[in-house]
Structure formats: C-alpha cells, structure tokens
Symmetry: C2
Subunit: 112 residues, 2 copies
DNA sequence: AAAAATTACATTGACAGATAGAGTAATTTA
DNA sequence: TAAATTACTCTATCTGTCAATGTAATTTTT
C-alpha cells in the first residue's frame, strides 16, 4: 500500500485523467481506482471530495446532477478546457519528477 | 521547477542516498542536489534541516562534529544500519509508486 | 415488512511535511 | 572593514491527506 505522502500532489492529475476519459461521479472514481490498481492503492473518500472541491474552485471541472439509479443522487463532473491544460502540465511535471528522483535516488543517468 | 507537493515524501530517501555515498554535511548536500539536477530542483534549507531532525530521531542517521574549514563548523551525518534498510524500503516504494501513477495518469499497461 | 447492506455525497478537525523568514556564527574575499 | 560566503537552527504558517462522523436513498437479505 502506497503511503499518502508519496502520492501527495499527484492526485489532482489522477482524478482529472479519469474525468477526461468520460464524465464521472465520486463513488465511481473511487471504485475505478481500486479496480485499476488491483487494490494496491485506494483513495479515501474525504480526500476525493477535497480534490473535487479544489478542482472545481479552480475551474478545472464543472459539476451537474445525474439520475438516481442506485442509492443516493449522483453528482457528475466534467472536464473544462483549463482542466485539460492543467492535466497536460501535470503530466509534464510528473515526467520531470520521475527523471529527477530517479537521478537522485538511484544515481540513474538521464539517458536511461 | 518541481513543486513541493510533488516531491513530498521522497526527500528522506534522496537525502539518505547522498549520505550512503559518503558522510556529508547539510550545506554540501544542498549544493550537491543543485549540481546533480542542474538546478532544476533545489532543496530549501529549512526543509533540509527538518529532514535531518526526522532522520536522526528515527535513528536512520547519526551526526558528529567536523572540522572548521570554511565558515561555520560543520555537522556531518553518517548512515546507520536502520537507515540503509529504510532506504531500501523507500526505493521499493518509489518503484511501486511510479507504476501506479503511470498506470492511473497515462493509462500505461503494467508490462511497459 | 423490518433490518442490513450498498450506493453516494459531505463536513470537521487533526496531523505531518515543506518552507518563508529571520537569526546566529565563523571565515574568506574585496 | 565591509561584504560575501559557508554553515546551522528555530518559529510560524500553509497545504494536502485522512479518520471520524453524519446524511440520505435504494436494494438486498432475513
């Protein structure tokens, strides 16, 4: 299980990625992450909704009410143009972060 | 420049790595990181000394006073057995983190 | 039909890591 | 001798994550 400090700062991009694929709601995202990682990683609900708030405040996503199919009413999220741009930026940052940490932690050459 | 939230949680291992190579002191480490990353990443002094405190408290490193050669007196750090074990653990965690984030952020298959 | 499980969203308070800012102290260079 | 450099330390603050708790509707089990 991955500790929260190690994942910190990457969650925004992870959530955005899933919302870019298609409009999604919170509970769905949390299940999807569990499935895709074969439960080696799970996002806590409190964290997830904190991420939504942050992303919506920054206008990277917008929300709308969905149908009641099972249980409580769903709140769907949709990516915005700025959200897409932010995601691209984060991907770039992640690639650079990998290079730097690999370099410092394992002495890997940049051309590996 | 890499944001602090993205690097968070990896700093302990980065510092340990440098101390494993040889005994080092704080200022040296901060300069070394700048050099190795060609200044794409720098560790803030307050952060560095906070890391030292944490690592020493957990007995991953021990300190001793060095010579005064330039400027103020140096405080050297040396890796311990537990420090080495912790570093190995962190390397493993980092590899797993990369796999998971790549998988979730870029839809990469685990066999890539 | 009542109880339990599942689906689904939300808030609060606490914690830990990173850092700005400020300070201390010694030596070297201009 | 003033300025720059080397070197370490402390305090206060910010931010992201998460445990705990609560609400609410629907579906499944008993």
């Amino acid at each position: 299980m991955i500790s929260s400090d190690i994942i910190r700062g990457h969650l925004d991009a992870i959530i955005l990625r899933l919302i870019i694929e298609k409009d999604r709601y919170g509970y769905e995202i949390s299940k999807e992450i569990g499935e895709r990682t074969k439960n080696t990683f799970e996002i806590k609900e409190a964290t997830l909704y904190a991420v939504f708030q942050r992303l919506e405040k920054n206008e990277y996503i917008v929300s709308y009410s969905g149908q009641i199919t099972h249980g409580r009413k769903r709140k769907y999220y949709k990516i915005t143009e700025q959200g897409r741009a932010f995601y691209d930026e984060k991907i770039g940052e992640w690639e650079e972060t990998k290079r730097i940490i690999d370099l410092l932690m394992e002495g890997k050459d940049e051309k590996n």
